[in-house]
C-alpha cells in the first residue's frame, strides 16, 4: 500500500500537468477580466501559448526521441506563413474569425508536417547527429526562401513570385499578401488566448498520449538503446520519423497561432535564435519532462519583459537566471528538497485513495 503502481503514478503525474495548464488559464483569464494584467503581459498571452506548444513539440524530438533539432523555428515559420496566406485568401469564403483561425492552424500544421517529413525521411535513416546539422540548415533555408517570396491573390487565385511585387501581375482588386523581406503587413489578427489554450491542451494530450502508448514506448526504446530496440523488432526510422513529424505538425500549428496574433510578421522573426530559445526552454525544463517544458517556456518567455525595468542589464540578468536555474536543478540540496516534496504529495494521494476505500491494488 506504500507505493502506487507505475500506471497509477503516471496517471497522477499527467493529471497534475493538465491541472497546472488549466489552472494557469483560469487564473490568467480572471486576472485579465479584472484588468489586473499589465498591457505588455496581456499582449504576451498568445505568444506564451505558442512557445509553450513549441517547447512541448521540441521536447518530443529532443527529450523523448533523443534527436537534436536546431531548426524548429523553421517549422514554426512554415506553419506561420502558410497559415497567414490561407487566412487572408479565405477572408471572403469564411467570414467567421475563429473558424478561419482553426483552418489556418490546420493548414499550417499540415504544411509543417510535410516539411518535417521531407527533412526527416533521409536524415533519420542515419545514426548520429545529422538531424541537428540538417535542421540547422533547414531553418536558414526556410527563412531565406520566405525572404524572397512574394505571394498575392486576385480573382484568378494565388500568384507566386520570387522577383518583386509587380512580378505577381495581380489582376483587378488583387492584393499582395506576402511581400518578401517585408513579410506580411496586412494581417488580420485572429488569435485569442482561448485559442492558444486549446492548442496547448491539444499538444499536451497528443504528446502525453503518444508517450504512454505502444508507439511512444518504441520511440523511447530507440532513444535509450537503438541496438536493443532493433533486436526486439522495432524499426528505427519509422518511429523516429513519427516523433519528428508529430513535432513538426505541432510546431506548424503554433507558428500559425503566433503569426495570427500580429498585424505584420516577417521571416526574420523565426531565425536561429528562436530555435535556440525554444531549445533553452526544453533543456532547462528537463529533457523528456513535458511539465517542465511548459513551465520553463511560460516563465522564461515572460522574464525578459518583467525585467524591462532594468533596461540595459535586462539580457544580462536573463542569462544569470538561466545559469542559476541550471545550477540549482543539478544541486543535491534542491534535488533532495524536490524528492521530499514529491513523496509528501504521493503519500497524501495514497491517503486520499485509502479514505475513498480504494484498496484494490497493492
Amino acid at each position: 500500500m506504500k507505493t502506487l503502481s507505475s500506471g497509477r503514478k503516471r496517471l497522477f503525474r499527467n493529471a497534475i500537468t493538465y491541472g497546472i495548464v488549466i489552472a494557469a488559464f483560469v487564473i490568467l483569464q480572471i486576472l485579465n477580466a479584472g484588468g489586473l494584467l499589465s498591457p505588455s503581459l496581456q499582449g504576451q498571452l498568445v505568444p506564451i501559448c505558442a512557445y509553450v506548444t513549441m517547447a512541448i513539440a521540441l521536447n518530443l524530438v529532443v527529450g523523448i526521441s533523443g534527436e537534436l533539432s536546431l531548426g524548429h523555428a523553421g517549422f514554426m515559420s512554415v506553419g506561420a506563413f502558410s497559415g497567414v496566406v490561407v487566412s487572408l485568401s479565405l477572408q471572403q469564403a469564411i467570414p467567421s474569425g475563429p473558424v478561419r483561425l482553426a483552418v489556418a492552424m490546420l493548414v499550417g500544421a499540415v504544411c509543417a508536417g510535410i516539411a518535417g517529413f521531407i527533412v526527416g525521411v533521409p536524415v533519420l535513416r542515419l545514426r548520429g547527429d545529422y538531424l541537428a546539422i540538417v535542421t540547422l540548415a533547414f531553418g536558414e533555408i526556410i527563412k531565406n526562401i520566405i525572404n524572397i517570396l512574394y505571394v498575392g491573390i486576385d480573382g484568378n487565385g494565388l500568384h507566386f513570385s520570387t522577383q518583386n511585387e509587380a512580378a505577381l501581375a495581380l489582376g483587378e482588386g488583387g492584393k499582395a499578401i506576402l511581400k518578401g523581406p517585408m513579410g506580411v503587413t496586412t494581417n488580420v489578427k485572429l488569435s485569442s488566448f482561448t485559442a492558444g489554450f486549446i492548442l496547448v491542451l491539444i499538444a499536451l494530450t497528443v504528446v502525453l498520449n503518444l508517450i504512454n502508448s505502444r508507439s511512444g514506448r518504441a520511440i523511447m526504446a530507440l532513444r535509450d538503446n537503438r541496438i536493443a530496440a532493433e533486436s526486439v523488432g522495432i524499426g528505427a526510422t519509422k518511429y523516429k520519423l513519427l516523433a519528428f513529424v508529430t513535432s513538426a505538425v505541432l510546431a506548424g500549428a503554433a507558428g500559425a497561432l503566433y503569426a495570427m496574433n500580429y498585424s505584420s510578421i516577417a521571416a526574420k522573426k523565426f531565425d536561429f535564435n528562436t530555435s535556440i530559445l525554444i531549445l533553452v526552454f526544453v533543456v532547462l525544463g528537463g529533457l523528456g519532462n513535458i511539465r517542465g517544458s511548459i513551465i520553463a517556456a511560460a516563465l522564461l518567455y515572460v522574464l525578459p519583459e518583467m525585467l524591462r525595468d532594468f533596461y540595459d542589464f535586462r539580457m544580462l540578468i536573463y542569462a544569470i537566471v538561466l545559469i542559476l536555474v541550471m545550477l540549482l536543478t543539478n544541486s543535491p540540496f534542491f534535488q533532495d528538497l524536490r524528492g521530499q516534496l514529491q513523496s509528501k504529495l504521493r503519500d497524501r494521494a495514497v491517503a486520499k485513495a485509502d479514505a475513498k476505500g480504494g484498496s484494490g491494488h497493492e
Partner: protein, 283 residues
Amino acid sequence: MNKPGREPTRLVPVPSPNIIPERDVDKTPILEAQHLGIDFGGLTAVDEFNMAIGRTEIAGLIGPNGAGKTTVFNLLTKVYQPTRGTILLDGIDTAGKSTVQVNRMGIARTFQNIRLFSNLSVEDNVKIGLHNHIKYGTLQGVLRLPGYWKEERIAHERALELLSIFDMQDLAGAKAGSLPYGAQRRLEIVRALATNPSLLLLDEPAAGMNPSETAELMENIVKIRDTFQIAVLLIEHDMSLVMGICEGICVLNFGHIIAKGTPDEIQNNPEVIKAYLGSGKGE
C-alpha cells in the same frame, strides 16, 4: 578439424553435423548455419561456421576470449551481414534481412553488456518486447480509442505473466536501470521472450552471478525451454552451466569450430583441452 564421434541414436540427417536431441530428430532444425563467415577488412573473424540447432534444443557456444562467439550472435541477428555462407531459420534463408526482420522471424537475443531501456520501468521494458504483438495503431493510441485500452490491458497482464517466470512481477514499477545486476540480466531474458521467439540467444546469461544464482538460472533456462517449447543457444564461460544444461556444444577458437558434441565428448576432446589450457609445449 577432428570431429568427435557420436552415439548412433543421436545421428541426425541434417547437412551440418551437430548434436540435436532425439525429440527433435525428425523435424527440420530451427536454425542452420552453413559455411558462415565474416571478414572485417583483412581480418577473418569467423570462418566456416556450420551448426544446426533442434527446435527444442539447448545448445552452447563456448570458446576462449576473442574466439568469435559474440560475432556469431551478431551474424545470426544480422547486426553484421555475413561475408559468406547462409543462415536458414526454420528452413527460410535470412539473407538480406535486417535485425528487425530477423527478430520478427523468430530470433530474440540478450546482450553481453546489458542493453536495457534503463530510463523506463521494468514493465515498459517487457511491453517494448511485446511491441509487435500489441495490435493498435499510433492514432488509436493518441485518441485513446477502445482498442488501446483493451490491448494495453492484455499487454499489462502478459508482461506480468512473463515477469513471473523469474518472480519479478513485484518489480514491474521499478526503473530498469535501478535493478541489481542479476535482475537486469533476467529482465533482458524476459524482454527477449516477450517477442515470442522460436530461438533464444543468450550472451553470457550467468556473467556476474554467484553460484546459487547460476543454479537458479540453469533451472529457469530449462523451464523456459519446456514451457515455451523453443530452442536456446547460449554463450557462457561458466562450465557448470554449459555442461549442466546444454545438449549440444560447439567450441570456437580463432573463429573456427574446433569441436562439436555432447558435454561428455567436449570435456574429453583433446583439441578443446589444448585451446583452453594450451598444448603444454610452450609457444
